[in-house]
Amino acid sequence: MTALLEARGLVRRFGGVVALDGLDLVVDANEIVGLIGPNGSGKTTFFNVVTGIYGANAGSISFDGADITNAPARAVYQAGISRTFQRSRLCLPLSIFDNIMIGNHMRLNQGLWFNLMQRAAFKREFEENYRAARALVEVFEPELADRMFEPVAGLPMIDRRRIEICRALISAPKLLLLDEPSAGMTHDETAELMDDIMLVRERNKNLTIIIVEHEMGVIERITGRCVVLNFGRKIAEGPYRAVASDAQVQEAYLGVA
């Protein structure tokens, strides 16, 4: 096994608050890793630092052999890391297709001349991408695949989540960061969504996933390994069962007995 993502001594401060306090985290290729911990333990901050939304105050991150510490968000995406957001960040007035295409930015021809003047070639690229996006949406919800040009604003939460995940998957990333995919959804909806994600992964064996989640059932079912954070530090690591019975972890979640 080779390390796909390797964070060493990662520090991120917000004023006096230390959100990440020398975090070491290694994720191997093809793994599914659960990132858990109490509120404010630094899980989302870790995602934001990896994806370049925040800079790191200290430490290093390497991905697929290249250093991406403090790389801009754009470069991180181009290296093959896609993500979803804790609070859905879709463009609500835009259509399902448009939202998914935002995620495919690096594979679309962005030339001014191509887009404005070579409309026949543009139409071919558009149709190709339409088929790809439709096929991906069909995995999650066949009914949505017939509504590709409807605005996202009219869709229920679960469909929005599905589209957000499609947006992250359309560019065939190597690493997918899922930030609380179950937020705002029922138990059954979450289970269904996870099954769909696993289905996509079946087809694309190279997909590595890090998932932040409070729904422990999800973590137990899909992750091979868990990393527990508290106050920006790693306090435990291992299979869910082992981690869940760890005294330090129980204390972090429940307080001192």
Partner: protein, 386 residues
Amino acid sequence: MAGKGNQAPGMWPGVAGLAIAAAYLAALLAAEKQSVIILLLAAGIAVVVAAAWLGLFDRVSRSFADHEDAMGVVAIVSALALAVVFREDHFVLLLITTVLLYTVATLGLNIQFGYAGVLNFAGASFFGIGAYTSAVLNTHTALPHLLVLVIGGLLAALIGSLLLLPVLRTRGHYAAVVTIAFALLFKTFLEVNDVLGGPQGLQVKGMTILGWSFNDNIEIGGLSLSFYVNYLVVSLLLLVGAFVLVRRLERSWIGLNLDALRLDETAASCFGLDIARWKITAFLIGNFLIGIAGALFGMVGSFVAPNNYTFADSLLLVSILLLGGIGNPWGLVVATFIVVVVPEKLQTIQEYRFLLYALMVIGVLLFRPEGLLPRPVRRYFPGWRP
């Protein structure tokens, strides 16, 4: 464009809508007596409200959506028909030409604000840069006048790039304040600059293309046309070009990029968007269009002065954008007609026209925040079905 199934209403509702609009406009432009004009305006509002209530507009907008190219041709024919009807009326032809050129300018603003979300309160300044370019180049050089138009656009884009750094560094209202500052400085700069004529401004030589002077009246057979017909036709061509450009831009990955960065910069940058690159692209293309329109407007009016390009005029352009429907080029055509023609015909409110604009904008923001013709969801190829 061949016959579709029965479910689509076809292009006839759109054609009928355009024909009625053109006929109404002709009646309004021809009317002289204030009482007749007020009656016509009231009737127009009543008909629009009734048509909206009966759902007729949905059918019209469907045929615009499905047969946009054909509708464009019908709209061009309608504009030319108006030109023929008023062939000897200098005032009306100038009014229509003004509408066409203001629409080009608002199309430029639409790329900046409607798509990229960069609010530009200096639209009239960039329009003025184009007009002053015409004044200076037509007087002092022998450059072909079509080239002068392009230079006017390029200069507007170039001088606009002075604003790029502050526009990229700030967001939302703060970027708008920067452009307001530019608009105020621009007018002062013109007033104190003697080379550019100071407060009195400059004369602009009329357009000449291949020895054909645009400022001479035309005689074709027994028919005599006002020289403004020349300008109307060129302005119409410019508008068609700008319209097609804006449409293609919207219906491409670039249009999608601009929407994405307007709606959520953080998410957009997480999917590889170079925010600065696309904001710059939108700002420059927008100013280029505004500058070309201004350069032609300078030649049409044959005179430029600082007082024609004030902050108030910039506000006028923005209010057209808000009224028409941000992001919808057809809405901009309608809104420009309303904003330019109504105060010109309704002499009684001339003095209070900014009050009228203010009321219109407040009304739109309160009751129809997406404008008269809201922007529909992007369709990359009209009539395309999966």
